[in-house]
């Protein structure tokens, strides 16, 4: 068996050597024969000639020998490839079309595979692949209502794992927090970064080497923090904070006001082993945690404090299965050690703790347990979708190939009648389709790669740096996928093209293609058009909506004079009091700037459900019992600053800004819908999970409120206001200027930095700028959806084109007879045109119910008014018909160019 395998490999890869050896062997044979003849007394020349004559025809023998070695198929493949290339050169338009269609079908599948392959087989950006690296995960801490979720260990657990030397050769610990990064450079504003506190062996365990400087070497987990603190910074941080300075090593900067010295720069893309929130990361020794985060030492000592992640190297021969019982046992012990009071308090709070533990390979996809399960669903759905796209593209290309084969039917018939094996012809045709699939795969991969490149350079924060890697798995998948695809779409046309009644084809009188095949093709096109229509109608409706949205985006002349400034008041300061006083200082400084008309604090925007007190609401109110509202927190004076007039009642009072808030201001329109003509002041609303009702203290102009929205109201969500809840310090200040605000932005930035140098300014935009960027992203989104719909239309058009083109070439003879009998060209064209259009109309009609469902879903999702939909539906139907008409007219026109003489020559 092995021997056979060896010979087989030899015949493929050592072809040249085998040939050489064969020549050498034959040459020796002739030489020896010549020598023998000379021995018998011939002259050397005669002897050589006799030897050669005796041997026979070299070429025949060599060919026979090659055959015997089973080597011929290589030559066959080679000639098939040549044949295919020649064929492609002859039909460039069809080839390019098929290439593009297939590139789409194969490309999306390869792209999907590559992304998920990277997530499931790579440990994360910047970390070298290592099978023995594992993540030890502890308690599942998840936000009760939110999506945040993490797996945490107490420091005691980490130390216990580190002592399990029979399982783990090394254990590294880390924990991360947001922190304030500042340099001595006064021009450079402070920056919110992710500070990871890591054990000294962290980089060693991950095998991450710095691009500059050094990382700490493996020393015991406890380092001496009393000396100067050292830090490794991320590549992005190096670029942004230090302008990629080559002499960055040894420079000092401040993390939460604690000076640290740069000792190394992490490689590009390396973020962390999974717990960093920002590209601007800085790694500090674990022991620095209490100092930099200003926390007590109990983070290390208390079993109640669980905030660490652990990465470990399994010992050779140990797998996660073996490690799991030990990990579970340690986790159970740690859970038992927790103070019951603390545990129960934590379990009742906003974070839900679930005691659990496991050990999993360090892979990008299991960074976050919640993401992990979501990713699986996404992968399944996307996979089904991309396979559907592949199926459609394959079907279309298959139809095109069947059509093309008609023009080669004569060629095939001649070759078959000259004795060519059908198997060989099928092989040739399949080689063509596989080659096509390979080219398409290459194109698809290239486009994917280019798109990824553009995305990662343009949106580095959103994209996972370098996480998508085209490795051998992806390459293997692509190659295999291309072969399978080539066979899928190529086999049926190849079988069809070579199943011929020779005599009839040679007489040009072959019967039409088998009925079932034609029916199948037609059905496929009808289904495509059926599916295209709701897609396009949905897109059209969204497009209309977005245009009207953009029109509706209430703009106000005030936009250019309103500046929104966002700060991170909590990052890097010692206490709430300090943050609070800093924000007050910033506020005062901004308000006092020349050119500034006023400033007011603004809280967060949140969507809440509101329930009016049952005895307060008007019995005939059109609104449901519980209404979704967009709630905003505003300081006194905020409404006036934004030109929102209070119609009844009053603005908030300073005294109402408290840790418990009880008053609310609503819009006049909302008030009317809730309470009718009754006076809304003093009536009560309850929000979400609150146990008490708030009182309406004021009613404001609702139209003016609309100018606060950046996007359009996607559904009716009234805006309401609360006073700022002082339990948290709001980080947003709105500034109103007398003239255009844009020139003042640098002054505002400088004033804020001067008032509170430690509070980082995370964003500063005029209302106008924010509106424009919202509009841009809306348009980009719709452009993407529109492109998808057009692609679907393009695919259907190709399917339709293939069918009509095929019908025309099938019925050349019939056309000839009709023309000879006096049919006008327009009649002939009309014949085919009508059949194509009939198919599209059928598709459109069948797609109607689907479109109605799609529209209803869209309306429910977006609150779109129903009046536009007939217009959209008509437009889409007309558009589809025009494209379908074009796709049928192009090949149908060819029917008119059939010369009756040529067509009937064979009669």
């Amino acid at each position: 068996m092995l021997n056979r395998l060896f010979l087989w490999f030899r015949s493929i890869f050592l072809r040249a050597r085998l040939e050489r050896e064969m020549h050498e062997e034959i040459a020796l044979h002739i030489e020896q024969a010549t020598a023998r003849y000379i021995d018998r007394g011939m002259s050397p020349a005669d002897a050589a000639q006799a030897a050669r004559r005796e041997f026979g025809n070299f070429d025949f023998i060599e060919e026979d020998a090659r055959d015997a070695r089973g080597q011929r198929w290589i030559d066959a493949v080679r000639s098939d490839v040549r044949f295919a290339l020649r064929h492609f050169r002859r039909t460039p338009l069809a080839t390019v079309t098929m290439l593009l269609v297939l590139a789409l079908g194969i490309g999306v599948n390869v792209a999907l595979f590559t992304v998920f392959n990277s997530l499931w087989t790579l440990p994360g950006p910047g970390i070298p692949r290592d099978e023995s690296l594992v993540r030890i995960r502890g308690i599942d801490v998840s936000e009760r209502w939110g999506r945040l979720s993490s797996r945490a260990l107490s420091y005691g657990e980490v130390l216990e794992y580190a002592s399990q030397e029979q399982l783990f050769s090394a254990v590294a610990a880390s924990t991360s927090e947001d922190a304030l990064l500042a340099t001595a450079d006064p021009e450079r504003p402070p920056l919110t970064a992710s500070a990871a506190y890591v054990s000294d062996n962290y980089f060693d365990v991950l095998n991450v080497r710095p691009v500059l400087g050094r990382v700490w070497s493996a020393t015991p987990l406890h380092a001496d923090p009393t000396t100067v603190l050292t830090a490794v910074i991320s590549y992005a941080n190096w670029e942004r904070v230090f302008d990629s300075a080559p002499d960055v090593i040894g420079r000092t900067f401040r993390v939460n006001d604690v000076p640290v010295t740069v000792v190394g720069v992490a490689p590009r893309g390396f973020r962390s082993s999974g717990d960093a929130s920002s590209r601007y990361a800085v790694w500090l020794p674990l022991a620095a945690y209490p100092i930099v985060q200003r926390s007590e030492l109990h983070v290390f000592t208390s079993p109640d404090s669980a905030r660490f992640s652990a990465i470990a190297h399994l010992r050779p021969g140990v797998d996660t299965e073996q490690a799991l019982p030990v990990v579970k046992a340690i986790a159970a012990r740690a859970d038992a050690a927790r103070t019951p009071r603390v545990a129960s308090r934590l379990r009742g709070g906003p974070m839900r703790w679930t005691a659990t533990a496991d050990v999993v390979p360090l892979l990008a996809h299991n960074q976050n347990p919640r993401d992990d399960s979501e990713l699986k669903v996404i992968a399944a759905v996307m996979g089904a979708l991309t396979l559907l796209i592949l199926l459609i593209t394959c079907a279309n290309v298959s139809s095109l190939l069947v059509g093309l084969a008609v023009s080669r039917r004569r060629e095939m018939a001649v070759r078959l009648s000259l004795g060519a094996a059908r198997k060989r012809l099928i092989g040739q045709l399949l080689t063509e389709s596989i080659l096509l699939a390979f080219a398409a795969a290459a194109l698809g991969v290239f486009v994917f790669w280019a798109v990824m490149r553009v995305l990662t350079t343009r949106f580095p924060d959103e994209m996972l740096d370098q996480l998508v890697v085209l490795d051998w798995r992806a390459a293997l998948f692509t190659g295999g996928f291309a072969i399978v695809t080539g066979i899928i779409f190529g086999l049926s046309p190849a079988l069809h093209a070579t199943r011929l009644a020779l005599a009839e084809v040679l007489k040009d009188a072959a019967a039409a293609v088998s009925g079932s095949r034609a029916l199948l093709q037609r059905a496929l096109v009808v289904v495509q058009i059926m599916l295209t229509q709701p897609l396009l109608i949905g897109i059209g409706a969204l497009l209309l909506l977005s245009i009207s949205d953009i029109r509706k985006l209430a703009t106000s002349e005030l936009d250019g004079r309103i500046v929104n400034m966002s700060f991170d008041p909590y990052i890097g300061v010692a206490s709430d009091a300090e943050a609070r006083s800093s924000m007050v200082r910033i506020h005062e400084r901004l308000a006092a700037l020349p050119g500034v008309a006023g400033a007011a604090a603004e809280g967060w925007v949140m969507s809440r459900s509101a329930t009016p007190h049952p005895s307060d609401r008007h019995p005939a109110s059109p609104l449901p019992d519980t209404i979704r509202v967009s709630g905003r927190m505003a300081a006194p004076g905020y409404l006036g600053l934004r030109d929102i007039r209070i119609i009844r009642g009053r603005d908030f009072l300073e005294s109402e800004m408290d840790t418990i808030i009880t008053s609310v201001i609503i819009g006049d329109d909302f008030a009317r819908r809730l309470f009718g003509d009754a006076d809304p002041i003093g009536r009560r609303l309850r929000f979400e999970r609150d146990s008490f009702y708030m009182q309406i203290v004021g009613v404001a102009d609702e139209d003016a409120m609309e100018t606060l929205r950046l996007g359009a109201p996607s559904s009716y969500q009234p805006i309401i206001f609360w006073p700022i809840n002082t339990a948290a310090i709001p980080g947003r200040i709105v500034v109103r200027t007398h003239g255009p605000a844009e020139p003042l932005l640098p002054h505002l930035r400088a004033a804020a930095a001067a008032a509170a140098p430690r509070i980082p300014l995370s964003a500063i935009n005029t209302m106008q700028q924010s509106r424009e960027s919202t509009r841009r992203s809306l348009l980009q989104g719709f452009a993407a959806i529109g492109a998808g719909g057009l692609l679907a239309l393009f695919l259907s058009a190709i399917g339709l084109y293939a069918i009509v083109a095929f019908a025309v070439s099938q019925r050349t003879r019939e056309i000839g007879i009709r023309t000879a009998l006096g049919a006008r060209r327009s009649q002939v064209v009309g014949l085919f045109f009508r059949s194509g259009v009939r198919l599209s109309v059928l598709g459109l009609i069948l797609g109607l119910p689907l479109s109605l469902i799609a529209l209803r879903m869209l309306r429910e999702q977006t609150g779109m008014p129903p009046t536009n939909t007939p217009v959209v539906a008509t437009c889409v139907a007309a558009g589809v018909l025009i494209v379908a008409g074009l796709a049928t007219w192009l090949p149908a026109r060819r029917a008119a160019s059939v010369d009756p003489l040529t067509a009937l020559r064979s009669e």
Binding site: L7, E25, I26, L28, H29, R36, G56, F60, A65
Partner: protein, 122 residues
Amino acid sequence: MGFSLVALVESAMTSSNTPLLQGTLDLIVLQLLRSEPTNGYDLTLRIQAITKDVLNVNAGSLYPALYRLEEKGLIRASWGVTENGRRAKVYSLTAAGRKQLAAQRDVWERFSSALTAILRTT
């Protein structure tokens, strides 16, 4: 499906128009290689010498037969040196070849004795 494996195999078998002769040549080659490893030219000489020039095996059928046998794993090729120092490919029998030879010889002996019997009686 328009083609079947059976038809394929059949066509492959009928395409070699002298199956008996081919089988015979294989048998001869295996038998000769049993005694000692030999190169291609020496094989033709030995066939001629042993059969007293009755069988004139030409190179055109010998080399394809050798390659086919090598492909089947019945013989093995290695590079040796001729008496005058030329590099030459030398063929020798493998274990599988030895087994095949025994089986083939058995078949042949029965066949030839049957044939002899027929030729004698009529």
